[in-house]
Amino acid sequence: MFKYFEPNKIFSITSRAPKYVLLLFIIIFSIGLTEALILSPEDYKQSHSVRIMYVHVPASWICLGIFSSITFLSVIGYIFKIRNFFLISKSLAPSGFVFNIVSLVTGSIWGKPTWGTWWAWDARITSMLILLLFYILYLVAWRIYDNKDKVFKVTTVITILGIINVPIIKYSVDWWNTLHQPASINILSKSSIHISMLYPLLIMTAAFALFSLLIFLMKYNTELIKIKNKGLDRL
């Protein structure tokens, strides 16, 4: 099954896909922005500041999703010695890192009108900051190690240690008394968010997911060309 993921086989697709993904992203993002900034209602308690949710929540979801994917791919790649999984993980990391920063900064901006402070050493916020440190460690590891086997091992260890933090982020609002509100959207039980706010949130999440796919494809193609450049040196 893994042979279908070989770079030589998928490059013809990954090299052509970005322009279509970019076009789709622009369309979905425009609809999402219109919904988030104009059409969606203000909150009865938070007024218009609730609109920050439409960038803060998708960014948080996607940076968590990307880190989980990186961990899964790194562990499977390390066990079965699939180098391409490491390449995919490496290509996913930049967008996860930027989404994590967006999540922290927009959360901080939202905190000022809602809690009266830009920052609090609250369990949710602190655990998100720790996730950012793991993203930094992961990206730095790829920069400092030249030896492929060593970098595969080190990045896998970093992701395994980092993934311990992911359930802590998820359940921090339930386990501790935090300033951060509990989850408004639940897959297994009834969500407390109104449908008029849920739709824009889902549209913005789709737009953010498309953006991370776009960045992933561009980065993946860059990494493949880099490998081929080294191949030309050996000829």
Binding site: S15, P18, L22, S47, S49, T106, P113, K219
Partner: protein, 75 residues
């Protein structure tokens, strides 16, 4: 209407700064990754141009190299 969109009952500064920060982060990331991509592609084309004919034929036998040289769009 326009006033409400910009000022948002006094919350405009927070809402707009969050959206502008997100947009700028996206734009910066896109530009950085695009520059890296163009740089690597240019490097590949230059290296390929410097190969002697025999090695160039061998390199071109790999489908991925042909893709990079001919079909890879400039995103």
């Amino acid at each position: 209407m326009i006033n409400e969109l910009f000022f948002m009952n006094g919350y405009g500064i927070y809402v707009w700064s969050a959206f502008v920060f997100t947009f700028l982060s996206f734009a910066s990331l896109y530009v950085v990754i695009r520059i890296q991509y163009i740089k690597e592609r240019e490097k590949f084309i230059t290296k390929f141009g410097n190969l002697n004919p025999e090695r160039a034929i061998f390199a071109k036998s790999q489908s991925i190299n042909r893709e990079i040289l001919s079909n890879t769009p400039r995103i």
